[in-house]
């Protein structure tokens, strides 16, 4: 891998545009309007064409203003059609952005003789070429795209800092915002204007479609990592910058593994964003797939463990002195799942709550007392459901069987108190006393 200052500038430009997109993107994700970013970024094309055809120049500022105006118009039209005609918002977006996009294609084809807007360039961006066009500032040569995107990032940061409270309230509870005197509609269109301006300024470097990746993915990934808005915003910035770095490294290294030279940096930035999102999706500490899976597994393990201890306690309680010991097969038969029972038996032995294995399993005193607590919960619940809620004795078993796993000692004594300290459950079995200590 050869790394030159050009690569550094590509990464810096990419990171600045990605970070600029990610900030308003967080609010789009929170407002469940991510696809509005998609719609607006598609309408950049006709916006640029119209701006060019009206002003006749390829100056940056008129183009920026024109395309932003068309972006905001898109937001207005989507909202207008949605509200006036009752067409659902997704469909109304689909109608408007495709029509605009088609118009843009035609306009560009018509203007092709006068202007070098290449539809391909609008889509993929030309980030690889941005370091070639530089502006001189304080004697430093800085790529123009880096300046534009840096400026946009600053504007976005300022907007978010200034209107942090307003943006937060309108994102989570527009009616509340209205009652607090914050006009939710105004904030909506302010945000849409910001999105449109950001999309337009970033389209040159990452391309209009890939802008969507930068608008949505960092925000969405950050959303899975935290519940606090400002942490989400900061995280989205970090993720966006990482996307740019990893994307460019990927673009110049991954193809070489297969014998090719390189590929589109913008495309690989989106892929990097996708991979980062996938990582977060799987591994996020609280909302990740893996942690959900582990929590689920731990819960299943605990319940199986409880059920085994309960089984052993009941067996010790009812079986005559010389009864044969409990076998693993008995437990599997009672509990349906073989794998979980084996796992739970291993875990119980490790904890020292049971003794023996296979053909002879017996609880240790500690295990017996755990089982006793569980059966106490179960029978107290049955008694409570029977006496206080009037549920008949047979029907009370199943809810009690579920609730027993989530009942601690405080709740046990509360149950005992409200059921009138019963000594037996509705099936005339003894309710064991609470453990001492």
């Amino acid at each position: 891998m050869e790394w030159t200052f050009i690569d550094t500038w590509i990464v810096v430009t990419g990171a600045l545009s990605a970070m600029a997109c990610a900030l308003p993107g967080c609010y789009l994700v929170l407002r469940r309007m991510s696809m509005m970013g998609d719609a607006i970024s598609h309408t950049v094309l006709p916006g640029l064409a119209i701006a060019f055809l009206i002003t006749g120049s390829r100056e940056s500022l008129p183009m920026l203003i024109g395309a932003t105006a068309v972006g905001v118009l898109t937001a207005y039209l989507v909202q207008g059609v949605h509200r006036l005609s009752g067409l659902d918002r997704g469909a109304s977006m689909g109608v408007i952005f495709t029509a605009f996009f088609a118009l843009g294609l035609i306009l560009i084809r018509q203007a092709a003789d006068h202007v070098d807007i290449d539809p391909g360039c609008v889509l993929y961006g030309a980030i690889e070429l941005t370091p070639l066009e530089v502006n001189r500032i304080f004697g430093w040569e800085i790529p123009r795209a880096a300046l534009t995107n840096g400026a946009m990032l600053l504007v976005n940061i300022l907007f978010v800092l200034l209107f942090f409270k307003e943006l937060r309230i309108t994102a989570f509870d527009p009616p509340l915002a209205n009652t607090l005197g914050i006009n939710a509609e105004t904030m909506h269109y302010a945000l849409m204007t910001l999105v449109a301006a950001t999309v337009v300024s970033a389209f040159e470097s990452v391309g209009s479609i890939l802008v969507i990746a930068m608008l949505i993915v960092p925000g969405a990934a950050a959303y899975l990592l935290t519940d606090r808005l400002w942490i989400m915003l900061v995280l989205s910035q970090v993720i966006a910058a990482l996307c740019a770095l990893l994307g460019h490294i990927g673009a110049i290294t991954v193809p070489t593994w297969f014998g090719f030279r390189d590929t589109s940096t913008a495309g690989m930035m989106a892929v990097a964003a996708g991979l980062l999102f996938l990582t977060v999706f799987l591994l996020a500490p609280r909302y990740g797939l893996l942690s959900r899976f582990i929590n689920q597994a731990l819960l299943t393990l605990k319940i199986t463990r409880d059920d085994i201890l309960g089984f052993l306690y009941r067996y010790t309680e009812l079986a005559p002195e010389d009864a044969r010991p409990v076998t693993a097969t008995d437990l599997v038969g009672a509990m349906r799942s073989k794998g979980w029972v084996q796992f739970a038996l291993w875990d119980l032995r490790r904890r020292g709550w049971i003794r023996g294995s296979g053909a002879a399993i017996a609880p240790t005193p500690r295990g017996l007392s755990e089982g006793r607590g569980l059966i106490r919960s179960h029978r107290l619940w049955e008694a409570y459901l029977f006496h206080k809620l009037g549920i008949n004795a047979d029907a009370a078993h199943f809810p009690a069987h579920q609730l027993e796993h989530f009942t601690d000692e405080a709740m046990q004594s509360e149950l005992a108190r409200s059921a009138g300290h019963p000594r037996v459950d509705p099936h005339r079995r003894n309710i064991p006393e609470a453990n001492e200590g």
């Binding site: 469909a91 977006m93 495709t98 203007a111």
Partner: protein, 487 residues
Amino acid sequence: MTGLRTWTAAAALALGLLMPPVSAEAAGSLAESALEWPTWAELLRVISLRDYNTRVVVIGTTLLGAAAGLVGTFLLLRKRALLSDTLSHATLPGIALAFMIMSAAGGEGKSLLGLIAGAAVFSVLGTLSVMAIRRWSRLKDDAALGISLSVFFGLGISLLGIATRMETGNAAGLSSFIYGKTASMLFFDALLITLAALGAALFCLAFFKEFGLICFDADYAATQGWPVGWLDLILMSLVVIVTVIGLQAVGLILVVALLIIPPSSARFWTRRLSVMLWLSGLFGALSGLLGSAVSALMANLPAGAVIVLVAAAFFVLSLFLGTDRGLVRITAERRRLAGRIARENLLRALFEMDEGLPDPKAGFPHPRSHDFETLLAERSWSSKRLRRILSKLISKGLIETRPGDRYRLTASGARAAAEVVRKHRLWEAYLITHADVATAQVDMGADKIEHVLEPEMIRELETLLPEYSNAGMPASPHRFDGPKGGL
């Protein structure tokens, strides 16, 4: 200046798309620099489909439009219109990968069937990833769609970047899948489209009831034992088929338009699913037909874009003129209702001002005349509006003019007014006795509902309020009669 003129021409074109031959003549002088308008001979050639090439393209796009319109109806009603956007963007890596694999294997890199197969596989992957994100994370629909769309498309761009740098094969034409290349449609493509369109129409007919059920109430369908998951799968497969077939013709961004715009237009005309389905197919077919014909007539107009603009023109037309939910009709209905409400309000105001001097014959108060200023002060309406309401009531014979800009209820006017007042007071009485609303607050509620109370509702109110049932006029709860009343 030329820029402006081109823009004007394009706008004129966009507006005039519905009747291309006529507007072509009219707009011809506007745009000599930008568009070459066809001669009558060329027009005739296209219309009569004399060229083999035009014939294939026009038939192909028409059928594609019809198929997309049919399938799109269910997609729209299932509220998944934007899923087609994600799905079509997700085809790009499939196309690039299929090309790379086929070229590397030494075959013809651009075999259409291979590319379509790749596209289909990845559009399914895209759909699955949307479902996975929705199912297993706390992100909602929109984010799931946006993430899959952009990441798959980015992957596609990257793979395309590699494919264009390959020595074997010629990847130059691959990007035409993004924008479409209708004019290069071959007989084989048209045949594929025909088959797909027939298949789509057959499935829509065969599963008409089932699709309708999952569109309108999927939960109910599930409780009735319908295999909602499988039906969804069939529907989504149809969408995938139409999308990948349409890629070649209009490109992956605009094929979305064919799936969304025609059904969106159709729903302004009807509430019946079957009518909407056929109308949507018709709109789609007409868009394909007119769009490809126009682009065949004029050089330099990409067919895909023109087709979408024709569809959009149908949408705008339907949005305003649709006979069921069109804005013109809805506005007219609202105005009619507003007019009726204003008239009833005026009648009630006159009646209540007359009260106190009951006419022994009819049980109605004796009508007196009131001057314009008094009426104007009754409610917050402008004098212009009040004049309009008055003249309407006079023409209906419910009010008569008296000298000096004064107005009086006629006998039939008094009857009509009594009916409104009775509704108003029955509702007030109901709110006071049954809904426990304070007397001072019932007027507002009754003021709104008096205009929409149906006769059955009145009867229901009378049974709930037996003391008011024998047709007499209930007294207003806001009036204190004589010294007996009061606080």
